[in-house]
Point group: C2
Chain length 335, copies 2
Amino acid sequence: MRTGRSTLVFEHRPRILSSAAVTGPKEGRGPLGRDFDLVLDDPAFGEKSFEQAERKMFQTACEICLKKAKKPAEKVQALLGGDLENQIMAASLSARALEIPFLGLYGACSTMAESLILGSILTDGGFADPVLCAAGSHYATAERQYRFPLEYGNQRTPAAQWTVTGAGACLLSQTGRGLARAVSACVGRVVDLGISDVNNMGAAMAPAAADTLLRFFADTGTAPRDYDRVISGDLGGVGSHLLKEMMRKEGQPLTDEMYLDCGLCIFDGRDDVHAGASGCGCSAAVLSALILPKLRSGKWKRVLFMATGALLSPTSAQQGETIPGVAHVICLEGE
Amino acid sequence: MRTGRSTLVFEHRPRILSSAAVTGPKEGRGPLGRDFDLVLDDPAFGEKSFEQAERKMFQTACEICLKKAKKPAEKVQALLGGDLENQIMAASLSARALEIPFLGLYGACSTMAESLILGSILTDGGFADPVLCAAGSHYATAERQYRFPLEYGNQRTPAAQWTVTGAGACLLSQTGRGLARAVSACVGRVVDLGISDVNNMGAAMAPAAADTLLRFFADTGTAPRDYDRVISGDLGGVGSHLLKEMMRKEGQPLTDEMYLDCGLCIFDGRDDVHAGASGCGCSAAVLSALILPKLRSGKWKRVLFMATGALLSPTSAQQGETIPGVAHVICLEGE
C-alpha cells in the first residue's frame, strides 16, 4: 500500500508484541540502565572474543523477546536483522542457534529501522507471522573494525561517538495485544554530502535523515508537530544539531520538545563519550527501553522512529571514499 | 500468503520485467559469454581499485536492466541488494549514484535469491513497484577479503571455487509483460555441519541447500520432477555432489537432467577454476543470461532458483568458527 511517491502504509498496522534490550555495563550505568532487560557485568559476556560476545548479546535479546511474548523460536517464521561486524556474523551465528529462517540485512546503524520496515511488510502482507526483527553492535568490535583496536589507545575526537554495546529485538505479528503498532514507513536513499572523517558519523548521517524525513512529511502531508516525538537513531550531538538546522531551513523545524536522538539518551554527562552514542544497538536498545514503553503507557500516541546509518568500510575509507548516510523512518502508534 | 510452515506464495505472481548481467573478461570467455549484456575487457573496469570496479559493475548492471525495461531510476521505488565486500560497499555506493530508496542485504552468495524474494514480497503486497533487485561480486576483492590478496600467489586447493567477477539485476513489477513470474519462495535457515575449510565453500553450503529444498518440497507437496530445473547458486563440483547425495538419501533425488548449478555453468574445462564458480555475481549473472531467457522462450516452464551462501568472515574463520550456510529458494515460471 503506497501513499505519495515513496512512503508505504501498513493496512493492518502490525503489532509489536514484545521487545527486549541487552546492553553492556557502561550502557547499564546510564539513564536507561534500569529499563534494559539485561545489563552485562562483563563486556565480553563470558566469551573468548568480543565478536562472540556480540553474537551472544544478539541471540540473548532475541531469546528474551520471544520469552516475553511466550512464543517459541520454532513458531517464528522469519528473523530479519544485522549488525556492524564484517559479513554480519553476529546476526548470522545467532540465526544458526535460533534455527529461524533468516534474512540478513545490512544498513549500518539504520538496521533496526530497516528490519522493522521489512518485518512489518512481511507481517502486513500476510507473508510471515510472527516475525522477529533485531540489531546489535559492540563497542570493541566496532572500534577494531572501523577505526583502531582498543589496545592502540587511540585518542577520540570531540565529534566521535561511542558505539553502544547492546542489542535489541522486537517480535511482530498481526494478532495479539501489542506494545505498539507499525503504521507507515519510508525507505531511505543513500545521501552523501562529502564528509570523509570516520570520527564524525553524525555529520555524515544528518543529510540522509533530513532527506528521509522531508520525503515522508511530503508524502503523508504531515509535519513534525503531528508526532509526539521525532526520534533519530544515533546522530549524536553534532548530527542532531545539523539535522535541526537543515529541517529549520526547509520549513519543518524540529523543536527540542518534539525531537529526540537515541544517541543522546543512553549516556549522560558523567561518561566520556564526546558526541554521544552510536551503533545498531543504540537505536535498537532505546526503542525497547524507552520508546515502546512510552507508546504502551499512552504517554506518547504517535512517534517517528528513524534509525540512521553511515555507510563506510575500512577499505572504502582508506581508498578515499566519502561517507554516505542512509536513514529509514517508521511511524509507530500506541494500541 | 503462506502455505505450509515456511513457504510463501505470491498471490499476484510478480513479473521480472527485465534483467541484466555484467561480467569480467574471464567469465566472458566461458560458455555463457555471449549471453551477458556487457563483458569487461579489464577486470578493473577502468577504475583505480577492484572495489571501485565492483561498485561500477553493480551500478552498470542496474542501469542496463532499467534501460531494457525503459524505466528511469527515479521511477523505481526500491533497490534491494548486496555484495561480498565488507559493509556491502559496492551496493551502497551504487545506491548513492542511482538515488533509489535502498534496502541493503547481506546473504553472502545467496543474496540474489534473498533480494528476489524480498522484492517479490514488496511488489506482490503492493508496497513498492517497480523494485530493482541486484547482487554482485569480484574475484580480486573476494580473494583479498576472505582468503589472501592476489599478490601472495596463494595456491588454490582442489575444492576451491573461483569467485565470479560479475553482477546481475532484475526489475520486478506487477504490471507489464515479464520474462518470468515469481510464484513462491522459501527463506533459508542457517545450517552448520561443522565445515571449517575456507577453501571448501561448496561443502559448507550443501546442507543448507538440502534443508531449504526439503522444507520447500514438504510445504508445497511437490518434488524435483515437478520442475524443469532445480538450480543451485554456487555449490560447485564438491557441493553439488554432496547435495545430490543428501537429496537421494532423503528420497527426493536430483537427477543430472533436472539439476543444474550456476557455479558449473560459467566456466568450462579450459579455465583453471578447480571446483567451479562462486560469488553473489555467479547466480545473479546466470539467472539473467541463462535461466530467464529459457523461461521467456518457453523452453523451461517452471524452475527453482536457489542461491546458496557461506556465512563467514575473516575474523570468524580466524577465531575458529565453523562455516554455516544458508540457501533461499524462489520458484519462477514463464508468463
